[in-house]
Symmetry: C2
Subunit: 234 residues, 2 copies
DNA sequence: CCTCCTGGGCTAACGTTGTTAGCCAGACTC
DNA sequence: GAGTCTGGCTAACAACGTTAGCCCAGGAGG
């Protein structure tokens, strides 16, 4: 198994840099991901980074690739696993990615909305731990739950990987398609799959951006959406 | 009617500045919206802008308010209008917003994806003019069509207004709710409305970011989504 | 052992960005 | 006429991404 499309190859040192960048990103927010701060975290000076990576965009592309790969991984196992109701198990079992042993970052940092991402004022992100309950759930519900959990567990990386214009040319080919394919596996029809993916992304990104009114019951909104996309609905 | 929640009050000159900012944004893309470029467009120097607006964020907040107000306007008329199949008519009839006469910008700039927004590599945004055809459409289809058309007609403003963390504190209160309320009017149930809004946003933002695979038939994806959210589906 | 080369660090510096401080001309008020 | 805003201006700062150029360690080849 593993993440099918291979990520762009990086020197060992470059990989270290990207790992540090990831930690910095998730700990301090995207605005704090500067070349100087990144270098300092590694005990070197900013210009030295350019000996290993051509520019900042390359760091971001590498991060995007990691983000897509991990998201894809989470979704694939969610869709393959024989419908486990608890969404947490998947992450823990697959995230120590086999392709990249050096990424020893503690990604599996549980589900509490990351402590502090200072750039992003955290707004409504106070009580939004999804409630896992109800019936053992259909494939679609399982997939959506995995999607939501994964995104909320890695908010900054998710945002980086899925928002804003994509530098497709610099990205490992096929990665996006692969990451999205579980939606097809779950619903069987490509256009419906695309629609479901769009729904999931819209939900997650609006939740991350604190865009829903204060007291919204997002669990119910997700459920309502899942129901809409389910084949024979009650 | 008009946009119910009043936008934050601005001095006449500040309004001019925001109008120029909007033009700059839509013509040259978000990266080109710098204080210096904005000032130059007005024939003054950057520091002078600070006599009228506290900082760049204030410019952006004002733009966001305009974006949300216009989006809300478009959606409201789409939902109130007795189901006109042609989505174009709405914009033209309501956009010269009655609240703000000085915004004489040609917003109604038709539907061709704006010529050049250089910062955003336009990618797949080549052949994505939505095809208006098929049966006269349900309220939900009308709403979704209006949403998509409006967003694609004002891509940069839409992105600014709906992506990234919201500075809620600085935003006119109630604006977001008002802009989103047509979704409730269309489906009748709040959670389903939120889900439908999320779907629409996800579709649009992914389309704007050129995130769908090359040859995607987005019309069908929209249709599939609309069908999923429709009450009694075939 | 000496030489050479190269990988990977460094400092200095440039051009942009948002933003502040402080100056000054005109217009309006009393 | 004196005074006070209003709204321009220049100069400057800090932080950003990035480039140029220096230099030291260590391995390779003779």
């Amino acid at each position: 198994m593993s993440s099918h499309p291979e990520p762009s190859p990086l020197s060992p040192r470059a990989t270290e840099i990207v790992t540090a960048a990831r930690a910095l990103l998730e700990e301090q927010g995207p605005d704090s991901l500067t070349m100087r701060a990144l270098a300092e975290r590694l005990g070197i000076r900013a210009p030295s980074l350019y000996k290993h990576l051509p520019d900042k965009a390359a760091v971001e592309v590498a991060l995007i690739e990691r983000g897509l790969a991990e998201l894809g991984q989470a979704l694939h196992t969610a869709v393959t696993t024989p419908a486990g109701p608890s969404a947490d198990s998947q992450e823990a079992s697959t995230c120590p990615s086999p392709t990249d042993p050096s990424s020893a970052t503690p990604v599996t940092a549980a589900l509490e909305p990351i402590a502090a991402a200072p750039d992003f004022p955290a707004q409504t992100l106070t009580a939004d731990v999804p409630t896992d309950e109800g019936p053992p759930s259909s494939p679609i519900e399982t997939l959506l739950s995995a999607y939501r959990h994964h995104a909320l567990a890695n908010p900054a990386l998710y945002r980086l990987a899925t928002s804003g214009p994509l530098p497709r040319k610099r990205l490992a080919p096929g990665l996006e398609e692969w990451a999205g394919s579980p939606f097809f596996l779950a619903v069987g029809e490509p256009h419906l799959a695309q629609a479901l993916w769009s729904f999931a992304h819209g939900m997650v990104i609006l939740e991350l951006d604190g865009r829903y009114p204060e007291g919204s019951d997002l669990d119910r909104t997700w459920a309502e959406g899942a129901r809409a996309f389910s084949p024979g609905r009650p």
